[in-house]
């Protein structure tokens, strides 16, 4: 049954912005840790933190989805679909460019751009809904 009890959950914009910020910071920290932290368990933990912040992004988006009304839910699903289309088209295009000599990129960029594109769309939807 579709719920339309709550129009927009409180702190949803802050939640998305915080999750995106935490994801970027953890990713930067993980990238720097390869150079600055000696090999060992601490470096392994730091390297794995982006996976946790990625899960945090999923948790925030899922919580917002469950608490919103039906129209905003549809917009959230549209954000997911748009992100999938943009990321798949972008990665295919870059794969073709790699064949003609463009530098090879890590799969990390797909993840980074995917989350960023998704969260920017979510922020737009949530700002419009306030």
């Amino acid at each position: 049954m579709t719920s339309h009890r709550d129009s927009l959950p409180p702190y949803s914009v802050t939640g998305i912005a915080t999750a995106q910020w935490a994801y970027w910071c953890s990713l930067a920290m993980a990238a720097l840790s390869i150079t600055y932290i000696p090999e060992g368990s601490i470096r392994t933990v730091v390297l794995l933190t982006p996976a946790l912040t990625g899960l945090y992004c999923v948790f925030v988006a899922r919580t917002i989805y469950k608490m919103c009304d039906e129209y905003i839910r549809r917009r959230v699903v549209q954000c997911v679909v748009n992100t999938a289309l943009i990321v798949s088209a972008g990665s295919l295009a870059y794969f073709l460019l790699e064949q003609i000599g463009y530098p090879r990129l890590s799969l990390l960029w797909v993840n980074l751009s995917g989350w960023s594109v998704f969260n920017v769309q979510m922020l737009y939807v949530l700002f419009r809904s306030r």
Partner: protein, 68 residues
């Protein structure tokens, strides 16, 4: 699907925000229904019908599909 939500809301003298509050949805949802960008779920259609004390058929009118 055509709807007469805008007219009924104007008759009641409510703003979109007031109607959204009464229904427990966002103002954006009311706006999307009024401008026919979104067709509400059955439960929301029944809530609208309850609120305006009109049958659903008065609120929503199906448009005939164009023949191919």
């Amino acid at each position: 699907m055509k709807n007469s939500l805008r007219e009924l809301r104007a008759e009641a003298g409510w703003t979109q925000a007031e109607l959204a509050d009464r229904l427990g949805v966002s103002r954006q949802t009311v706006n999307a229904i009024e401008t026919e960008r979104y067709e509400p779920s059955l439960s929301l259609a029944f809530s609208l019908s309850d609120l305006f004390k009109r049958p659903i058929e008065d609120l929503f009118k199906p448009q005939p599909r164009p023949r191919r």
